[in-house]
Subunit: 132 residues, 4 copies
Amino acid sequence: MKYTFDLKMKVRDYECDLQGIVNNANYQHYIEHTRHEYLHSVGISFAAMHERGIDAVVARLTMAFKTPLRSGDEFLSRLYLKRDGIKYVFYQDIFRLPDMKCVIKAIVDTVCIVDGRLGTCDELDQKLTFHE
Amino acid sequence: MKYTFDLKMKVRDYECDLQGIVNNANYQHYIEHTRHEYLHSVGISFAAMHERGIDAVVARLTMAFKTPLRSGDEFLSRLYLKRDGIKYVFYQDIFRLPDMKCVIKAIVDTVCIVDGRLGTCDELDQKLTFHE
Amino acid sequence: MKYTFDLKMKVRDYECDLQGIVNNANYQHYIEHTRHEYLHSVGISFAAMHERGIDAVVARLTMAFKTPLRSGDEFLSRLYLKRDGIKYVFYQDIFRLPDMKCVIKAIVDTVCIVDGRLGTCDELDQKLTFHE
Amino acid sequence: MKYTFDLKMKVRDYECDLQGIVNNANYQHYIEHTRHEYLHSVGISFAAMHERGIDAVVARLTMAFKTPLRSGDEFLSRLYLKRDGIKYVFYQDIFRLPDMKCVIKAIVDTVCIVDGRLGTCDELDQKLTFHE
């Protein structure tokens, strides 16, 4: 099993747009929340990092939209992580429940900004789990 | 115990604004989602009602903001309901967990629009629980 | 003419929900943005105030929803302001363009939190225009 | 000059998150709104297309984040378009004003869903301007 972290979520009606499906920008919210919950699960607070002058920011994002979620749908948001130089690359896939149909596949390159400059973060390196 | 329905939720970081607290408009999202989940719990789908030409809409909203929620906070969103003429009046309070400090108190007047006009909805009248 | 400040805006499609109308929480966004643009127009930055330890926060909000906005609608967001003790009370109305049909009427009580406590803000008192 | 359409916009404070910068998902909102305004400028309504059973949907999105926008920033959202088989590929770049520093560069593959199936849309083919 390749995923490091799973978060079960449910569509909220205000996230659906006039096409009756979840507006695309909300998938970015879902996967951001999943990353932050993953960090939280290993004892890292995104807000507390910001207070200390360390901001993890997204440098690049690719999302493929496979099947739209609709009102009432539950889904599983899953991720695993690779290290690539100074980048933390999150592989994040969302699956509709209960049929596990793929909703989106995303790759998110993040970097650390330390006191305004690209930097490294030992706390992340030690606490996160990386795939090779 | 006066509340008819409880929903446990958690702040998502993207809901916080540059003051570091949940942006006020998100409380409206939280309480809307709570109403829809309550409807869902008694077998009513907001989206399916819309498909049949019945839209429950908010006519009036009052919110008192007591204590702001912050990144990582969990909270309990609770509601009970009264009938007032053709209005369904939702009393919705949010409490921070675990200290149950009051976050917001809201009163939401909703009405039914049936095929474009103010109307009544037997399904709501039969399935919802009303306080006197 | 009673309004102190007008802002012309346009509905963005992602603000509409599965009922095809602007989701209610977005009206809170519209009127917040209007307040901040009004502050900006008199030389006050909401973000800069926050940096100095002064946060203007909403204590109470009442909104009456009259006519929903739809995809493509333009609208005028207008406000005037009264002082009531330590409260700044914003009266904010939105009108659809070009027919000026009333969309919402809102009353927003705001207070200043200075270094974590209820306080006053001379800058606001001097630069804002108050109705009696 | 390669861009077909420009839209000037301004950051709204509620779009900023606890890092004090625009939350990434809002860039997806900005570029979606820009596409819809471009369609509108050539006489195509996204909402009206939906009513007729034609939904333009995003199949794939790539965004590179260069410089974050902050509270009060104005920006120019620009696009041009290529046709690639049944895909409409939007190249969308955002530049901060007035220094025209690049904020994001995005490529958005969209397709048409006609009555639930991948299809073509003559109206789009005739009214849109394509780069080779």
